[in-house]
C-alpha cells in the first residue's frame, strides 16, 4: 500500500477561519465530521444520491461526500451548524419545527441547507420549484408534505 499523504487545508467554515490536516483520501464530509468535529452533515449514501451531507460551498450547494477535503482550500463552507445566529434559529429552522417537518431528523440538515440556498436564490418559489430543487434530498419518513409546507412558511415570512 502506498503511504498516505496528509494535506494542510485552510478555509472558512460557518464564518470562522479553520486550518486542518486532511488525509488525502478524505472527502469534505469526512473532514467536517472526523477532523473538525462538525457532525451535522450526515452520510446517507457516500455517492451523491441522498443529499444528507449537503453543505453550501462558496454559495453553491454540494454533496460534501463528492468533494475532496483538499479542494476547499480558500473556500467558504456553511453547514447546518452555521444556519442559526447564536441561539436565534433561522426562519427556516423555526418553520421546520412548527410544521413538524422532521421525524427521525437525519435528512433535516441536508434539507435545511438545500432549502436555504433555494430561498437565497428564489425568495418565492412555487411548490413545483421547491419539489424540483429538493429532489436531490431523500427523506424516508415524511412523504415530503410537511417539508414543502415548512419551506413555504419560511418563504412567506422572509418575503413579508
Amino acid at each position: 500500500m502506498p503511504a498516505t499523504e496528509h494535506i494542510v487545508v485552510s478555509c472558512t467554515i460557518n464564518g470562522e477561519s479553520q486550518v486542518f490536516l486532511a488525509n488525502e483520501r478524505d472527502s469534505l464530509l469526512e473532514a467536517l465530521r472526523d477532523r473538525i468535529g462538525l457532525t451535522g452533515a450526515k452520510e446517507g449514501c457516500n455517492n451523491g444520491n441522498c443529499g444528507a451531507c449537503c453543505v453550501n460551498l462558496d454559495g453553491r450547494i454540494v454533496n460534501s461526500c463528492l468533494v475532496m477535503a483538499a479542494e476547499v482550500e480558500g473556500s467558504e463552507v456553511t453547514t447546518v451548524e452555521g444556519l442559526a445566529d447564536g441561539d436565534q434559529l433561522s426562519a427556516l429552522q423555526n418553520a421546520f419545527l412548527e410544521q413538524a417537518a422532521l421525524q427521525c431528523g437525519i435528512c433535516t440538515p441536508g434539507f435545511l441547507v438545500a432549502s436555504q440556498a433555494l430561498l437565497d436564490e428564489n425568495p418565492s418559489p412555487t411548490e413545483h420549484e421547491m419539489r424540483y430543487w429538493l429532489a436531490g434530498n431523500l427523506c424516508r419518513c415524511t412523504g415530503y408534505d410537511k417539508i414543502i409546507k415548512a419551506v413555504q412558511q419560511a418563504a412567506e415570512e422572509t418575503v413579508a
Binding site: 500500500m1 498516505t4 488525509n23 483520501r25 465530521r33 472526523d34 468535529g37 462538525l38 457532525t39 451535522g40 452533515a41 450526515k42 452520510e43 446517507g44 449514501c45 457516500n46 455517492n47 444520491n49 441522498c50 444528507a52 453547514t79 447546518v80 451548524e81 444556519l83 442559526a84 434559529l89 429552522q93 421546520f96 419545527l97 412548527e98 410544521q99 413538524a100 422532521l102 421525524q103 427521525c104 431528523g105 437525519i106 435528512c107 433535516t108 440538515p109 435545511l112 411548490e127 421547491m130 419539489r131 424540483y132 429538493l134 429532489a135 436531490g136 434530498n137 431523500l138 427523506c139 424516508r140 419518513c141 415524511t142 412523504g143 415530503y144 408534505d145 410537511k146 417539508i147 414543502i148
Partner: protein, 767 residues
C-alpha cells in the same frame, strides 16, 4: 365519528388540555441545528474504525480465510472471523419483532461455514482509521467453493432444490417437522367455515397470482455500532437501534456475557421502519474492542445496507375469492409464500393474519410458507408482511367489484368487519374504526370529485394492522420547581418523546412544557421493547399514564402528611389541584402542583413516579386510501396526481405527527408500488445496490398527501390510542393497481409496477 383534518385540536379531543395539540417536539431544536448525536456521530478517546469484508457470492462454502496479510498492515489492530466468537447454541432468543436461534443470529452477523447471500459478512477489521481498515479488507484472502444459489420462493420450495441449511426441516403448526431437510422453514394455516361449499355458492369467482419483489426500509442513516469492552469485563455499546434492550439481549449471549455486564445507549436514530431491530455491527464492534482494548466504531456504507440488512420479503401469492351477485364475499382461499432470506423468519405469519382482516368472510383458508433463499435475511418493515398479503387480497376484491359492477367502497362496507367479528386466526374485534374509515373516504372531497382526462384512473384500498402493546417503562421525578424530567427506554424515531410526554402531562394536569422527556440507556430505565409495531405511543403512553397516577398518589399522601389528615381525604384533581379537608377554622386547603412540588424537599424529600407496564392488549387500526394516477402509455411511467389517506388513530395525541406517519407510510407504499425492487442476476448478484438505482420516491415524485384522521377511541387504552405508524404503508399498492387498471385497463400481477413491468404488460404483450 369525528375527523380532525389539519385541525389544531379535534373536537373529539377537546376534553383534553394537552392531548390533541401540536407542540414543538422536545428534541426538535437539536435536530434543526445539527447538534443531535446519531450513532455515527459518536467519538471516544482512542476510538478505532472498523470495516467488514463481505461475500461476493450468493451461495458458497467458505473453505478458508487467511487474515495474516491484513493483520500485518501498519495501523491494523485486529481482524476477526466467525471462529473468534464463542460457539453459539441453538437456544431461541427474542429478537424484537420475532425470535431466532442464537447460532443463526451469530451466523447472520458473520458467516460460519457458508456465505448465504451476496454481502454476507465474512471478516471484520479494526484499524486506526477507516481508510486503513478498507485497505486491510483487500488483504484478507478467502477461498470459496461456489454453490448454486436459490433466488426465489418457488424454486426454493421444489423438491431437489439446493438446500441452504442441511438441518432445516419444515415445521407445522402442530409442532411436527418434516422428515426431509427443506428450504421451507414452516407452514401455517388459518381457516374457518367450509371453503368448498363457499365457492359452490359463489356467483363470481376470481383467482389471481402475484409476485412481489424484496424491498428495503430505506432509512437514510446507515447502520452503525460502537463498543468499548472495558478491562473489568463490562461492555458499553452505542448504536442507532429501535430497541436498546434487544441489542443488549442479543449481544450478551453472543459474547457469553450477562445482560448486567452490557450497557446499551441508544443514540438518535436516522429511521428504522423495522430494519434497525436486528443486530449486525454491534457484536463485531464488541469483539474487536475486546481484542484491541480500545473502543471501536463500525459503520456501513449504503451498498452494505442494501446488500446485507433487512429487506422485506419478496413473495409468490395466489388468491381465489368468490362473491354473490349482490357483493357479499362468501369464500376466500389465500396462498402466501414469503422469502425469509438466508435464515428462517419472514413475516408470513403476520401477513396471513392480516390478509383478510378487514372483512367478515364466512368461508376462508389462508396458507403461509416461510422459505429461505440466498438473499439477505429479511427484517421487519412497517406492518411486516401486510403490504404484500393485503396487496393480493385487496387487488382481487377490487376486481370482484369491477366484475360485479359495484362501487368498491360500497362493496367493502357491505363486507366490513365490525365489533364482535372474528378473524380466521381466532382474534375477535372489539371497538374498531373499519367502517368509519370507509365512510370518511366516501365523504371525502377526493372521492366526491370527478377525475377526467385520458390514461387517468382512480383506485381505492383498505388496510389493517394489529398494533401491539407489551413492555414499556417510564420513570419521572418531580422537581421542586414543578418541572418533571421523564426517562424512557423507547428510541424516538418520529416524535414519541412528545407523544409520551404529552400523556404524562395530561394525566398530571400540568403544562406539556413542564415535562422534559429523555431516552436513556438500558441501565437507567426498566425493560422496554422495541420502537415498532405501532406500540410506542400506545404502551409508552400507558406507562406514562400509570407513572403519572403513581405521582398523583404520592402527592396526595404528602399533602395529607403536611395537613396531618388521612390520605383518603385528599384528592388530586385533573386540574392539578390537590385538595384536602377544611382546616379547624373551616378554611379550604389546597395546593397547586407547583406549590406542593416546592414543599417536597422540606417535607420528606423529592418523589419519583414509576411504571413498568406489560400490556398484552392492542388497538387494531384500519385505513382507507384513495389515489388518482396518470399512466404514460409510451413509457409505462405512473404519476401520482392526488392522494388521500384516511385512518383511524383512536385518539390522535399529536395530530401533526399522526399526519406525518400517514404521509410517510403512503410515500413508502408508493415506492413499493411503483419502483422499489431488489434486482438480482442469475448468480444472485444484486445489481441495484445504490440509492440511484434502488429508486425511492423524491419530493418531485409525490403530490401533497391529504391526511384525514378518524378518531374511534380505543377502549383498551387510557387515552384511546391505537398506534398509527404501520397501517398507512398497506393500502397504497393495491389502490395504485386499481387506479392503473382504471386508467389503462390492465391489471398488474407484480410489484413494483415499474415502467418496465407496465410496458411488459401492455405494449410488449400486444406484439
Amino acid at each position: 365519528m369525528v375527523t380532525a383534518q389539519q385541525a389544531p385540536q379535534s373536537s373529539e379531543t377537546e376534553q383534553y388540555n394537552v392531548i390533541g395539540t401540536r407542540p414543538i417536539r422536545p428534541d426538535g431544536v437539536d435536530k434543526v441545528t445539527g447538534a443531535a448525536q446519531y450513532g455515527a456521530d459518536i467519538t471516544l478517546p482512542g476510538l478505532l474504525a472498523g470495516r467488514v469484508l463481505r461475500s461476493p457470492h450468493a451461495h458458497a462454502r467458505i473453505v478458508s480465510i487467511d487474515t495474516s496479510k491484513a493483520e500485518a498492515l501498519e495501523g491494523v489492530h485486529a481482524v476477526i472471523t466467525n471462529a473468534d466468537f464463542p460457539r453459539a447454541s441453538d437456544e431461541v432468543i427474542d429478537t424484537g419483532e420475532g425470535s431466532a436461534r442464537l447460532n443463526w443470529v451469530l451466523d447472520n452477523v458473520i458467516a460460519s461455514d457458508k456465505a448465504l447471500y451476496k454481502g454476507h459478512a465474512v471478516a471484520a477489521v479494526a484499524a486506526s482509521d477507516h481508510h486503513i481498515a478498507e485497505d486491510a479488507l483487500e488483504l484478507i484472502e478467502v477461498e470459496y467453493e461456489l454453490l448454486t444459489p436459490v433466488l426465489n420462493v418457488r424454486d426454493a420450495m421444489v423438491d431437489g432444490s439446493p438446500l441452504l441449511h442441511g438441518s432445516l426441516h419444515t415445521r407445522s403448526m402442530d409442532g411436527s417437522s418434516s422428515d426431509n431437510a427443506s428450504n421451507t422453514a414452516s407452514h401455517l394455516q388459518f381457516a374457518k367455515g367450509d371453503l368448498d361449499s363457499g365457492f359452490a355458492d359463489a356467483d363470481v369467482v376470481i383467482e389471481r397470482e402475484f409476485e412481489t419483489s424484496m424491498a428495503h426500509q430505506g432509512y437514510i442513516e446507515p447502520h452503525n455500532g460502537t463498543a468499548y469492552w472495558r478491562a473489568d469485563g463490562t461492555l458499553d455499546v452505542w448504536t442507532s437501534t429501535q430497541g436498546a434492550f434487544v441489542v443488549r439481549d442479543s449481544v450478551a449471549p453472543l459474547l457469553q456475557l450477562s445482560p448486567s455486564q452490557v450497557k446499551v445507549t441508544p443514540m438518535e436514530i436516522g429511521g428504522g421502519f423495522g430494519g434497525k431491530i436486528p443486530v449486525y455491527l454491534e457484536p463485531l464492534a464488541a469483539l474487536l474492542s475486546q481484542k484491541t482494548g480500545r473502543p471501536v466504531k463500525l459503520t456501513m456504507n449504503r451498498e452494505e445496507v442494501l446488500l446485507a440488512t433487512g429487506p422485506t420479503s419478496g413473495t409468490y401469492m395466489r388468491v381465489r375469492m368468490g362473491a354473490k351477485r349482490d357483493g357479499t364475499i362468501i369464500a376466500a382461499d389465500v396462498h402466501l409464500a414469503f422469502e425469509a432470506g438466508a435464515y428462517p423468519g419472514s413475516p408470513v405469519g403476520a401477513g396471513a393474519m392480516c390478509a383478510l382482516a378487514p372483512y367478515d368472510i364466512p368461508n376462508q383458508r389462508i396458507d403461509g410458507y416461510d422459505v429461505v433463499v440466498n438473499k439477505p435475511k429479511t427484517a421487519a418493515y412497517r406492518a411486516p408482511g401486510a403490504p404484500q398479503s393485503e396487496f393480493a387480497t385487496e387487488s382481487v376484491l377490487n376486481e370482484l367489484a369491477e366484475e360485479l359492477g359495484l362501487d368498491p367502497l360500497e362493496m367493502r362496507l357491505q363486507n366490513a368487519c365490525t365489533e364482535g367479528d372474528q378473524r380466521a386466526d381466532g382474534f375477535t374485534y372489539g371497538v374498531i374504526g373499519n367502517v368509519e374509515c370507509m365512510q370518511a373516504a366516501q365523504d371525502s372531497p377526493h372521492w366526491q370529485s370527478e377525475l377526467e382526462g385520458p390514461n387517468r384512473g382512480r383506485g381505492v384500498a383498505q388496510g389493517f394492522w394489529f398494533n401491539i402493546g407489551f413492555e414499556s417503562s417510564a420513570y419521572a421525578q418531580v422537581n421542586a420547581d414543578g418541572t418533571v424530567p421523564l426517562v424512557l427506554g423507547s428510541t424516538d424515531i418520529g416524535g414519541t418523546r412528545a407523544s409520551i410526554a404529552m400523556q404524562l402531562a395530561e394525566t398530571l394536569g400540568i403544562s406539556g412544557d413542564d415535562v422534559r422527556p429523555h431516552v436513556v440507556d438500558t441501565n437507567s430505565v426498566g425493560y422496554t421493547q422495541v420502537t415498532g409495531g405501532s406500540r410506542t405511543t400506545f404502551a409508552g403512553g400507558w406507562a406514562a399514564y400509570e407513572c403519572a397516577m403513581d405521582i398523583r398518589r404520592q402527592m396526595e399522601s404528602r399533602a395529607a402528611q403536611i395537613w396531618e389528615c388521612d390520605a383518603s381525604d385528599v384528592s388530586y384533581g385533573n386540574d392539578a389541584i390537590v385538595r384536602g379537608p377544611a382546616d379547624d377554622d373551616g378554611n379550604e386547603r389546597q395546593f397547586s402542583f407547583k406549590e406542593l412540588a416546592g414543599q417536597l424537599p422540606a417535607t420528606g424529600g423529592h418523589i419519583v413516579g414509576r411504571a413498568d407496564v406489560n400490556k398484552t392488549s392492542s388497538g387494531p387500526a384500519f385505513a382507507t386510501h384513495i389515489v388518482d394516477v396518470e399512466v404514460d402509455p409510451d413509457t409505462g411511467k405512473v404519476d401520482v396526481l392526488r392522494y388521500t389517506a384516511i385512518q383511524d388513530a383512536g385518539t390522535a395525541i399529536h395530530p401533526a405527527y399522526v399526519e406525518g406517519q400517514m404521509q410517510g407510510g403512503v410515500s413508502q407504499g408508493v415506492g413499493m408500488a411503483l419502483n422499489e425492487e431488489y434486482y438480482y442476476d442469475e448468480s444472485g448478484d444484486l445489481k441495484n445496490a445504490s440509492l440511484l438505482d434502488y429508486r425511492m420516491p423524491t419530493a418531485l415524485d409525490l403530490p401533497m398527501i391529504e391526511p384525514i384522521i378518524v378518531e374511534v377511541p380505543n377502549p383498551g387504552h387510557p387515552y384511546g390510542v391505537r398506534g398509527v405508524g404501520e397501517v398507512p404503508i398497506i393500502p397504497p399498492a393495491p389502490a395504485m393497481r386499481a387506479a392503473i387498471a382504471n386508467a389503462i385497463g390492465v391489471h398488474m400481477s407484480e410489484l413494483p409496477m415499474s415502467p418496465r413491468a407496465i410496458l411488459n404488460a401492455t405494449v410488449l404483450s400486444e406484439d
